[in-house]
Amino acid sequence: MQVLEEKHKLATRWFHWINFPILFVMIISGLLIYWAYDPYRIGLGSITLFHFFPDWFYDATHVDHKLSYGMALHFLFAWIFAINGLAYVIYTVVSGEWRELVPERKSFGEAVQVAMHDMGLKVPLPPQGRYNAAQRITYTGIVLMGGLSLLTGLAIYKPAQLNWLTALAGGYEWARWEHFWLTMGYLGFFGIHIAQVIRAGWANFRSMVCGYDVVELKAASAEVHGNAGKL
């Protein structure tokens, strides 16, 4: 027999879908700002494997010479990013949802199994709740990264008024470096997230929009509660 099962709470879906375009604007406006001083690279000593960003990238994206516009956008949308993120954290704590999100002791071992399974290896999936072990670690990590982006951002934004925060980040230049690599982390997350959503299929994506999925009642196993919002 088929029944409707709630996969994602209304609040979670709102926070998620608000965050998506806001984070997009934050990353693009961050790029407009970064262009004005773009020192970061992957490399060692005099060997540079990749410079963020090469000229062809700037030529293709037209992000050049828009520093003032980028700053204005960034410092406006940062409000929405921060308020939405804080509201999400408060909601998750108060509602008790955090229990289904925060990694447990066993999650770290299980996450390896999940990852190997997802890469096509014949590894059985451990039983799971709303989120599997890899999702618990990743989703909690991405929320923590959001908090760090906010803090390092403030450290760059007001290094004199919040000099203690800038000092905590390791100084002004380190704060900017951390802020940049956190953003690269989001892009890495985004790539895997989209790939997993595509892999998990339509019903899974639909459940992130409408909150529900249709499941077989008799299969009272991991599958019933499982696989919502794969990485």
Binding site: P21, S68, L76, Q161, N163, G171, C210
Partner: protein, 253 residues
């Protein structure tokens, strides 16, 4: 209606919910695009940012000034060993050679309409000399640890424009009026704000604003005007070269 009283199958129920939710998502997306258009609507002066983004910057300024800002919040200072490689950015207002002998500093106190005094460098050197090694921050994102020495702007004001502390703002211009900045008075009177005549142990050179420049570590470099020719206290926000070109008027750090 009959449909409402009917018990829906799970398949019908999910398609009903999903239809509603996707319509909601679509409405949200349209609203977001509309909001974006609204944010960019209105006349935009050449080279400036949309007015609503300007309003957001001004809103942030208000929040910062009412919550974070304090004259006891100091920009970090460094040991002499941390002084880095200097770079010179921007020559607006200082591209003509300086006639050091002819240079004067005009001071227009609060409420006055004409300069009350034309000062020479010796007048400034008589004020207590203050030295600081700070991380000079360009709005572009880079920064350089630099040593500066000069007179505190608060000492300068007390001596040459007493009473002008109660003005809301102060404006400064290069002698040719090509470059100009507007400052809020609390930042101008911040204890680290200097009228500097020395940089890295040497008299200020032409490229960095000889004979006298502003060093205001609680602001981005764009506010640290070089070769000051005129200082004017006022209640109105003075013109500001980079604010007219899209940047935050406050530009506080």
């Amino acid at each position: 209606m009959q449909e409402n009283s009917k018990v829906l199958t799970p398949a019908e129920e999910i398609s009903r919910r999903s239809r509603r939710s996707f319509i909601g998502l679509g409405v949200g997306a349209v609203a977001a695009v509309g909001g974006w258009e609204w944010l960019h609507s209105g006349e935009i002066p050449e080279g400036d940012i949309p007015g609503k983004l300007r309003a957001a910057l001004n809103f942030n300024e208000g929040v910062v000034r009412n919550t974070l800002y304090g004259n006891d919040h100091l920009a970090k200072t460094f040991p002499a060993s941390a002084v880095g490689k200097i770079r010179a950015n921007g020559d607006v207002g200082i591209d003509e050679a300086l006639d050091a002998a002819a240079w004067r500093l005009e001071v227009v106190p609060f409420g006055a309409s004409a300069p009350a005094g034309k000062l020479v460098m010796d007048d400034l050197r008589k004020l207590p000399r203050h030295e600081e090694i700070i991380d000079f921050k360009c709005v572009e994102g880079w920064s350089t640890v630099t040593q500066f020495a000069g007179a505190r702007f608060s000492d300068f004001t007390a001596k040459f424009a007493p009473g002008s502390e109660k003005a809301q703002c102060v404006g400064m211009r290069t002698p040719d009026e090509e470059y100009y900045v507007g400052l809020d008075m609390p930042s101008a009177l911040h204890p680290q704000t200097l009228l500097a005549y020395e940089m890295n142990g040497e008299p200020l050179n032409d490229k960095h604003g000889a004979p006298l420049r502003l060093v205001i570590p609680v602001k981005y470099g764009i506010k640290n005007i070089k070769r000051i020719g005129r200082i004017e206290y006022a209640d109105k926000r003075g013109d500001d070269y980079w604010a007219e070109r899209g940047y935050d008027w406050y530009a506080g750090l």
